[in-house]
Symmetry: C2
Subunit: 297 residues, 2 copies
Amino acid sequence: MSDFDCRYDAYRHRAEDALRKHLSKAGEPWQDDQIPSMLAEAMRYSLFAGGKRLRPVMLLAAFGMPEEPLNDALPFAAAIEMIHTYSLIHDDLPAMDNDDMRRGKKTSHKIFGEGMAILAGDALLNRAFELMAESSAERAQLAMAEIARLAGPRGMIGGQAADLAMENSAPDMNMVRYIQRHKTSDLFIAAIKAGSILAGKDEYAIAAAEQYALHYGLAFQITDDLLDIEGFQGVFGKSTGKDAKAGKMTWPAVAGVAQARRDAEKETALALEASAALGNSADFFAALAQMVLGRVK
Amino acid sequence: MSDFDCRYDAYRHRAEDALRKHLSKAGEPWQDDQIPSMLAEAMRYSLFAGGKRLRPVMLLAAFGMPEEPLNDALPFAAAIEMIHTYSLIHDDLPAMDNDDMRRGKKTSHKIFGEGMAILAGDALLNRAFELMAESSAERAQLAMAEIARLAGPRGMIGGQAADLAMENSAPDMNMVRYIQRHKTSDLFIAAIKAGSILAGKDEYAIAAAEQYALHYGLAFQITDDLLDIEGFQGVFGKSTGKDAKAGKMTWPAVAGVAQARRDAEKETALALEASAALGNSADFFAALAQMVLGRVK
């Protein structure tokens, strides 16, 4: 096992433990302080559907080494994964991307119905902020404000809304960049920035973390869109060729496949450049960036 | 104009100003730090659809007198109304209550489509937490944690989920009480508790505020359900008789109309009792409680 794999797994296990710890037990709904069993089941179903935990791993890696006590960062790691999961549940709804499958499993609304899927998403978003607000870590409020801004209408939701509103519009590179920056990069930025803020990093390190996550996210989304075109359903557990059918304004749709591949390489190189300033996590983040391109090679 | 009306209007205007101030301007989506115009429009449409601003008024009244500087409480007043508004947008969706009209206007998804309505709700919830996290008020984080808990899966969303899951189930008084407490009372509790916490009130006053809001919320929801049966579409701007058609487990459906009226009176009396401990806001909250019953008299 490489150093990288070992460190990734260590962070990932810490994140899994935090998620398990912070998701309320289901119970009979008329007992107080318990949550209706179907809601709890729906929250758990999507949260433990086999994600790679990329965002909480990034948050923890930006915070400290895996052998250090990461306690101050753990609720934030759980929270960022809850926010990511809520966005997937809502994205998969028939009124949005209308996906029946995700990570090789049926999507939330296919199992629990649309109404409960909407509520499960809402519940995960609320629970994320509850967890962060309960933190007694120094700078907790600052980290929370960053996450809220980057996940909200000026961040991820802005990207999702533009993505939805621009279906079947004329190709526009500025628009694609806006959509991908906000839809995808912003939550990576939130993760790495929150980890850095909680660790008390200086402005210079925080700016480098933001640059890294921005370019990482763009490379990530471009390769995701290339995979949707080139098709690896078996690998990704979700259906492919959907973007074109939905008239989505993706990077390869606007720039062409060959240019998109070159842009993914360029964005990866920019992420690698920024990773150098990430202190004793520089190697880890460099290795992470290099893996993105591997998905389409 | 009565003292009560005058004070209500003063709080309401402060809340309106705070909402206007804190809702980002719409712009071309590819300009940074701006949000896609359709998303901004959808957020504003529901937020300025003529609500009574009951929850922010309660939060401000629990915080201080209208002539005092209320600055520390204003972002929280705006936030609680954003949370209320997001819950209405999602509640009105076809997969939930399927309402076409709200406050005499078309509901969000009828104007902007279901996908954008889901995102507008998500955006308002995020923006609410962003606003609160940016506060520099003492005890801001504590107030935010209370609001998050009471709005989340152990609070309002728990009530909404039970409401949805229990459609067409056998009548059960414990269940109705659970649903109404969480679906309706919890956000009133959040408002009054957050205002009290921000003002630095002692434990005794905070407990009284919680009791008041619990019983106020139950009286409020019982009369709402009575109105749905007895029908005042002109007054409420929303369609009536829907609960019975949807097989909703409402208080009058379980206890009968006559008993529900008596229970609304009982809950109002309990709210009045609790209001006595609310210091120089006691009269204001007492008058507010007395108005609830007026709706079905």
